[in-house]
Symmetry: C2
Subunit: 383 residues, 2 copies
């Protein structure tokens, strides 16, 4: 049910003609209230797309009445003209919906450095607005796809309220978030501060710990909109956990659909001196191209895990490191452990445990393997 | 002429049976003096192979009489037993050559986490010693190859003296050096302090700025040995420049032979506020998998360059960035520049200029593209 699982929301997805393929490429999500509270997190990349610059400004008010999302073009590195295109998009949506442009968030995804075809995008907004429906969540999720092979949605039901969401993203997944667009909605009656704290906590342990290819996008956007339409205000902890579950579900779907991937790799760093150490080590392992190739070839090459750990600043003694791959402790005390031939690598899921033997903290980072398909797909990218 | 271009050195390369293929796998380089001065730089990886731990200790004395190098096994992550294997290798070479074990440096390359077959390696040292020759440099260079398709040597002639060297390395090339073994020799009469300063300066602007796949090895070793056999002590600046030239030549050969590469990419960062900024930006671009795939596909995708710059902490204004690919300024002022169709991508060499418009400093980082061949080669690595 995506973004329309929560009461008070309508959505639509249409083909506006932005993509030359003619596929759906424009999504609209509208909050019918009574509350219009919202929070957002955006890419940490210092080269930010025009829609990110615009939406960061909109989110400062903590109030979002609608989100316009397009695939088929990132509107990044497009200069002042690109920002004017985003502004014009918000103005058009405001006019059609009878809202204020300053309450309308914009998100774009696709090629960097290309202007959007505004002559197609603006009429597309009218078409989407005409198609708005309380059952439009799936269509919206489909319209934001680029190289995604499937659309991604998730819902968690609370006691009389719900949190739902949609996501797109396949390449460029990285710690600073990805060319990852996510819209979450809830009908719980939560104010902006509550939404903000729940969203930041959730992204920190979910999307921020997905690292497909180490690349950080110019367009990453995660929005959480609350309509308050259920009339219920759950405890913040319960609400935050529901948001985290939806984010975790979507994050897994993103990594599972990563470009060219044949393995889903879960890296669990244990006994770290700090959570920061655990995350640093997890990311270093997740970004090691040689390891990712080895796992693609079903080779439990733990030497490449140790080599990746060795490049970090985390606290550890090289002679006390232990590594398990799919349950077999192939490295003990920094040296050869159990027989690597015991490791069963036939399945899509790969589980690596890196034991730093330096403390009690833990973190899990998810990634995928590096494949020839990834190379092919990204040697001739078109959205 | 490799490591025997300089007077006072003998070398050999033999097949000891360490590699199952039966190819050459053991090299020996001997300094016949009169001087036995040496300097070394080693991997920055905190997980260091046994031979690196050993050789770091040897180099503290500033005196090296011989170097034993083997391919077919990295002797990394092999525990106290692995260190004993390295020690036994040095003892055996000392015995055969009539030297002290504490003057013998060891370098190994190959798979991590596998013990060396000492029953083959030790007899191999006798065989190599029996084959030592003042013309053995090429054979030594051949014996240290792993996935290298060609052996790599370079020589610079001074006025009555020379600097020569050999290198191996194809994968794992990264800022902290690579599974890169390099031995440089000179017959110039230079003391340890002079060798050390020349070597550190040279590696900093050559091997340290080669980044093939972002992976940092456990075994990187670069040694510079001086025999003083020419009886000439050149000025330190002239000598340092000769060392830099040999290192630069070898570094280019390494990147040109990088696993699976079809493009040699030179990234020149200009107008940076500091050299550190320029290097950070160059490395970030060099490590961007998406860009490396695009260049493989002959796609001048400057958006991926900007996206990589945006992840750094370097000083720049996103709206003032300029990027040229093969001489065409495809990005001006952070936005669309000249027509990208003008970029000729047909040749192996690719030249990227990233203008940060933030100062006057510059740095060049070399890398290669990411290809399906790289994935294949590293999905089933065997040395």
């Amino acid at each position: 049910m995506s973004v329309t699982a929560a009461k008070g929301f309508e959505a639509a997805g249409v083909a506006a003609g932005i993509k030359v393929s003619g596929s759906e490429d424009l999504a609209l999500v509208v909050n019918r209230g009574p509350r219009l509270a919202a929070a957002g997190v955006f890419t940490a990349n210092r080269v930010k797309a025009a829609p990110v610059q615009w939406s960061e400004q909109v989110l400062r008010s903590g109030r979002v009445s609608a989100v316009v999302l397009n695939s088929g073009g990132a509107n990044a590195c497009t200069g002042p003209e690109g920002f004017q295109d985003t502004h014009a998009t918000a103005e058009k949506a405001a006019e059609v919906l009878g809202h204020s442009a300053g309450e309308i968030a914009i998100a774009s995804t696709g090629l960097i450095g290309v202007r959007l075809p505004m002559d197609k995008l603006l009429p597309g907004i009218e078409k989407a607005a005409a198609g708005l429906s309380a059952h439009g969540g799936e269509k919206a999720a489909i319209a934001i796809k680029t190289t995604d092979t499937v659309h991604k949605t998730a819902v968690v039901q609370g006691d009389g309220w719900a949190v739902g969401g949609m996501a797109k993203g396949a390449g460029m997944l990285a710690p600073g978030l990805a060319t990852m667009l996510v819209v979450l909605t809830t009908d719980a009656d939560i104010d902006t501060a509550g939404l903000d704290s729940a969203l930041r906590a959730a992204t920190r342990s979910t999307f921020d710990r997905v690292d497909s290819d180490g690349c950080m996008s110019t367009n990453d956007t995660v929005l959480l909109l609350a309509s308050g339409a259920s009339g219920i205000t759950p405890g913040l902890e319960v609400f935050a956990e529901a948001v985290r579950e939806v984010c975790d579900d979507l994050a897994r779907q993103l990594i599972g659909d990563a470009e060219g991937a044949s393995k889903d790799i879960r890296i669990e760093v244990i006994n770290a001196a700090s959570e920061d150490d655990a995350v640093e080590v997890g990311r270093s392992i997740a970004r090691n191209n040689l390891l990712k190739c080895a796992l693609h070839g079903e080779d439990p090459n733990w030497g490449r895990v140790l080599s990746a750990i060795g490049t970090t600043s985390a606290a550890f003694d090289p002679d006390r490191l232990n590594v398990a791959i799919n349950g077999v402790w192939v490295c003990r005390n920094g040296s050869v452990g159990d027989d690597r031939d015991l490791v069963d690598m036939r399945y899509r899921d790969v589980h690596i445990v890196a034991d730093l033997a330096a403390g009690t903290r833990t973190a899990t980072v998810r990634t995928n393997d590096l494949t020839a398909d990834y190379v092919h797909e990204n040697s001739a990218y078109s959205s």
